[in-house]
């Protein structure tokens, strides 16, 4: 993607700097509030990713990469999947079927809670990492 | 003895052939000879078992859900097995002389394929059911392909195409569906006395179609119009031609046909349904026409090839006539023709090695240079023609006698006519060799003895002698044939 960081706009930069933390906050909110309202790991991942994409669009790929190296993204996207599938493995080790969260705690409801928390986190991590990685890949190609 | 043992010597010798290779060819050939003798002894022991009233058979392998691979010995198979194993030894002896005398290349590959083909022939001989027979039949086709294309030139490639093309097309296009059809309508594919199709409920027309699929599907039997592969295969080295035309390939074809008529259809079914009436004329046509074509060929091997086609159709006719006598004659003719024809091919090869001649018109007067060879040629020719004192007379008589059982003399007269043609195209060759003057010699000059290598000679003498022996002492064979259960 062609970026024109040298022609950056001071107003945009300031606004972005102000905006990004809020977007990240929203992402976290969606991630952990998905139980109650709309949203969940996937949407949170997208929002989280879009914060970095926004930053990248305004400040250039180079600076974004310094903040979040591609290497880290690869680790993140793998860890997300591992977290999700690993949760399934743990439930199996604890005597349940694959992804049977009841096995995670004595009280099935608690088990379900923990299970959902873990897998939503896994989804969120993978999705945000992949989204940012997609952006990097498309943007770094010229 | 378990007939499975018959597969062991030819297969077991392959690693030896490959390991010993070109560098230690003497040892390689010794190992082949040892295997050949062992194979013959195994067949002999199976023969003894059978004569003692046993039914030697192997275990089975489940190739297809209801159909298995299984070997068992019955008289026809034992006869074929004995024949093939005996001639393997002889051919090996001969080819040792020939291949070296002719400086052939890739002898290791040659002997390997030869051994595989032999194993497959044993499989065909002792096949307990159609499926096993088909498997062996196809393996023979493929393992002899490199033998045909041995020379590797453009001609060899072309011949290989024709060879594989016709044999594969017919076997996949006709034989395979015939077998599947048999499996569908008959209760099994097993060879049982009296046949499995006897009460299959097939109409006469369908029976004729099925028989036709078999007759044309087994192109190895050389019936026209699927005979072209045989002359094409002439480009192969002579031991191969001998093997192809006397033992392995063609005999597997007619042998299969005889077995199918006897044990799948049952001779009564063939006669009763009238199915054979459609194909007897084709066989008769082949007998006559190929004899005439043979007459026109100047190349010795080509003439012998067309002669083979004609002789094979005798056996096809014998099978289609489907009387006890004719089928017995057909079985016997497998042996008689084998010894006669292999003698002739050996002689042709010997002439090629010794004098580098392959055209009949150039053979004038060579009888004085190669008296033993040409003498043997004469005996072989006599046997093929079916005259005393060679074995060929017995089988021809039986077939002719069987044909009279059908109430018409057409088929017998076809045989007679072809005998006349046989005389016309075979006998002039030895006569020429002995009585015409040698054009390469100045008048009055004495011909020097220029025989083929001794290994070749031994083989020739042995087979020619057997032709004579079989005239005076055919009893072991007739006894064996007497054991066949017809119904």
């Amino acid at each position: 993607m062609k970026l024109y960081p040298r022609q950056r706009h001071r107003v945009l930069q300031v606004v972005t700097k102000l905006l990004v933390p809020f977007v990240l906050m929203v992402g976290l909110y969606v991630q952990f509030h998905g139980d109650y309202g709309p949203g969940g790991g996937f949407q949170a991942g997208v929002i989280f990713g879009s914060a970095f994409i926004l930053y990248g669009l305004i400040f250039g790929l180079q600076r974004t990469r310094e903040i979040l190296a591609p290497r880290v993204l690869h680790v993140m996207m793998s860890l997300g999947v591992l977290l999700y599938a690993g949760t399934g493995a743990v439930t199996m080790l604890l005597g349940g079927n694959l992804l049977d969260y009841d096995a995670l705690a004595h009280d099935p409801l608690h088990g379900q809670h923990w299970g959902l928390f873990a897998i939503e986190l896994g989804v969120g991590v993978t999705v945000s990492a992949v989204m940012i990685s997609l952006f990097y890949n498309f943007a770094s190609k010229r | 003895m378990n007939p499975l043992w018959a597969l062991v010597p030819p297969l077991a010798v392959i690693p030896f052939i490959l390991l010993l290779g070109e560098k230690r060819k003497n040892w390689r050939e010794v190992s082949i000879l040892v295997a050949g003798v062992a194979l013959f002894l195994i067949n002999k022991s199976i023969y003894n078992d059978l004569m003692a009233g046993g039914t030697p058979q192997s275990g089975e392998i489940g190739l297809l859900a209801d159909y298995t691979l299984k070997l068992s010995a019955e008289p026809m198979g034992v006869m074929f097995g004995l024949l093939a194993s005996f001639l393997w030894v002889v051919t090996t002896v001969y080819s040792i002389g020939y291949m070296r005398g002719h400086h052939e290349i890739n002898q290791t590959r040659f002997y390997t394929c030869f051994a595989i083909a032999l194993a497959a022939v044993m499989g065909a001989a002792y096949a307990d059911n159609l499926l096993t027979l088909f498997v062996a039949y196809e393996v023979i086709t493929i393992s002899t392909f490199p033998l045909v294309t041995h020379a590797g030139g453009v001609d060899a490639k072309k011949a290989g195409r024709v060879y594989l093309g016709i044999l594969m097309t017919t076997s996949i296009g006709f034989l395979l569906p015939a077998i599947v059809w048999t499996a569908t309508v008959g209760s099994s594919l097993d060879f049982v006395p009296g046949g499995v199709l006897a009460d299959s409920g097939l109409s006469n027309g369908a029976m004729a179609c099925l028989l036709g699929l078999f007759v044309f599907g087994i192109a190895k039997a050389g019936i026209m119009p699927f005979h072209r592969w045989l002359p094409a295969a002439m480009v192969a080295p002579t031991p191969v031609s001998a093997l192809l035309h006397a033992v392995a390939v063609v005999k597997t074809g007619v042998f299969s046909l005889l077995k199918i008529v006897t044990y799948t259809f049952g001779i009564d079914t063939v006669v009763g349904s009238g199915a054979a009436q459609w194909f007897l004329p084709v066989a008769a046509f082949t007998v006559i026409v190929s004899s005439i074509v043979a007459f026109t060929k100047d190349n010795l091997k080509a003439r012998l090839a067309y002669s083979t086609i004609s002789q094979l159709s005798y056996i096809v006719m014998a099978a289609l006539l489907a009387t006890v006598m004719s089928v017995s004659g057909g079985v016997l003719h497998i042996v008689m023709h084998a010894f006669g024809k292999i003698t002739l091919f050996f002689c042709a090869g010997a002439i090629l090695v010794a004098l580098h001649k392959s055209e009949i018109s150039k053979l004038d007067g060579i009888g004085r240079r190669m008296p033993i060879t040409m003498g043997a040629f004469f005996i072989g020719a006599v046997s093929i023609i079916g005259l005393p004192p060679a074995g060929g007379v017995w089988s021809k008589l039986l077939i002719a006698g069987g044909s009279l059982d059908t109430g018409t003399i057409i088929w017998a007269s076809v045989l007679m006519l072809s005998t006349l043609l046989n005389i016309a195209y075979l006998l002039p060759i030895p006569l020429r060799a002995f009585f015409k003057p040698d054009p390469s010699l100045a008048p009055g000059e004495k011909a020097t003895l220029q025989e083929a290598p001794p290994a070749c000679l031994w083989a020739i003498v042995l087979t020619a002698f057997t032709c004579l022996l079989l005239f005076v002492y055919p009893q072991p064979l007739t006894e064996l044939i007497g054991l066949i259960q017809w119904r």
């Binding site: 109650y36 996937f42 997609l134 190609k141 | -």
Partner: protein, 122 residues
């Protein structure tokens, strides 16, 4: 008439789906094809959501103490998955397009075919 009203939305959605499919088949431009794919898939999502809707229902988020009619949550779940699949496919397709443009210098299918026809067998 009831049928017309009851099925109207299905039919429109089907027309939309076919518009997407048509773009995928008839357009030679590779990007346009992917756009068509997006249109096609989004319309399929719409079809599913239409199936889940219950007249007078509310979003399937439980409200304590009230007896509400909820729309069917299952199609929503399925479509959440399908949306993700859709964007993943588009991303891979676009990445391929970028590389195709880079190596062929074109993103028109017929031009690429012409170029390929000139190349020898691999």
């Amino acid at each position: 008439m009831t049928q017309l009203i009851g099925l109207y939305s299905y039919w429109v959605v089907i027309v939309l789906m076919m518009a997407g499919l048509y773009i995928m088949i008839a357009r030679y431009n590779l990007v346009k094809k992917v756009i068509g794919l997006g249109l096609f898939q989004t319309s399929i999502f719409y079809l599913y959501i239409t199936m889940g809707k219950v007249e007078g229902g509310t979003a399937p988020i439980l409200v304590e103490g009230k007896e509400l009619v909820y729309s069917n949550p299952l199609p929503h779940v399925l479509i959440l998955t399908a949306i993700v699949v859709g964007v993943a496919t588009s991303a891979v397709a676009l990445a391929l397009i970028v590389r195709i443009h880079e190596t062929y210098g074109s993103i028109e299918e017929d031009e690429i075919k012409d170029i390929e026809a000139m190349e020898p067998d691999a």
